[in-house]
Amino acid sequence: MNIAAVKKLIINSLNPDFNSGDVSSRLEEEGISYNFSQNFTENVLSRLFPAGLTLNREIEFAKYMNFAFYRVALTGVAAIVLLLISIFIMEGSLSLNSFLGLSDSYAESIVCLLTGN
């Protein structure tokens, strides 16, 4: 097809009643085609599914779990220290009896408390 024929085809393809279905294939035969690079599909997929994504998620999960554990552990330790200080202030010592709340109780009172006699 010469250039004049290509021009005529292009202009005619814009007539509202013209069946332009096969124009693109005829133009393609004349070398008028549009393509992306050969790696196009791979490039799209690599942008959508980065290689280490699953691995990264697992690593991030472990990291957040560690972080959560440290937060809980530190809070627990702080609570225990506060408890020890308050016991020391209230009981005046850190003996086992103080811990159990029995520092000023006599053995008879405990037996009485436990048995009811």
Binding site: I11, S24, G31, I32, N35, N43
Partner: protein, 192 residues
């Protein structure tokens, strides 16, 4: 990755659009790869004929499929998948044209001329034949509102009604733009 692509074409050659969409929604990489393989040429026709063979057109093409991937859940199958993809391609391409216009307007008073020079100068270096050069030059000379109509009719082979549906324009507007596009194209081609 090339192994993946050959697997893609073998495994999904006969799969229907609906099955591919459903599989893609579950994160099936091969299924979505097959969608990209099937429709990349159609997207290339829209994007490259509208923007010219600039270094950015491949990126816009990729954006089309990325946007498609994230909006697949909204695809209800009422229209063809190709129409849905075409709409995304048209929207992103028109956005890019507007963005470029804004960019050139910011730096130059002669926005249109500068933009046209940018499009022509950035053509890729592959050798094109005379007919291809002619069509590309003519398209780049056209107003983008007419260029999109020409692309839909001439390169994609859509009917006037389908063009109106894709561009989200009333049929009357498409018919009037088609007639004006034909007139403009005739004038441009007479000079080339």
């Amino acid at each position: 990755m090339s192994i993946l692509c050959s697997m893609t074409s073998e495994s999904y050659n006969l799969t229907t659009e609906e099955e591919l969409v459903r599989a893609s929604l579950t994160g099936d990489k091969k299924a979505f790869g097959e969608i990209v393989n099937r429709y990349q040429k159609m997207v290339a026709r829209t994007v490259k004929s509208m923007l010219g063979d600039t270094i950015f057109t491949e990126d816009i093409g990729q954006e089309v499929f990325i946007k498609l991937f994230f909006s697949l859940s909204e695809f209800r199958g009422e229209a063809k998948l190709s129409t849905y993809i075409q709409k995304i391609a048209v929207n992103l391409t028109l956005n890019e044209i507007k963005r470029r216009k804004r960019f050139f307007t910011m730096f130059s008073q002669k926005a249109n001329n500068e933009m046209h020079e940018f499009e022509i100068a950035d053509h890729d270096t592959e050798k094109r034949n005379e007919a291809s050069e002619l069509v590309n030059k003519a398209l780049m000379e056209m107003d983008y509102k007419f260029r999109i109509i020409v692309t839909m009719r001439m390169l994609q082979g859509y009917s006037t009604k389908e063009t109106a549906e894709i561009l989200d324009l009333p049929l009357g507007t498409v018919l009037s733009r088609l007639s004006r596009a034909q007139e403009q194209l005739r004038n441009i081609l007479a000079k080339l």
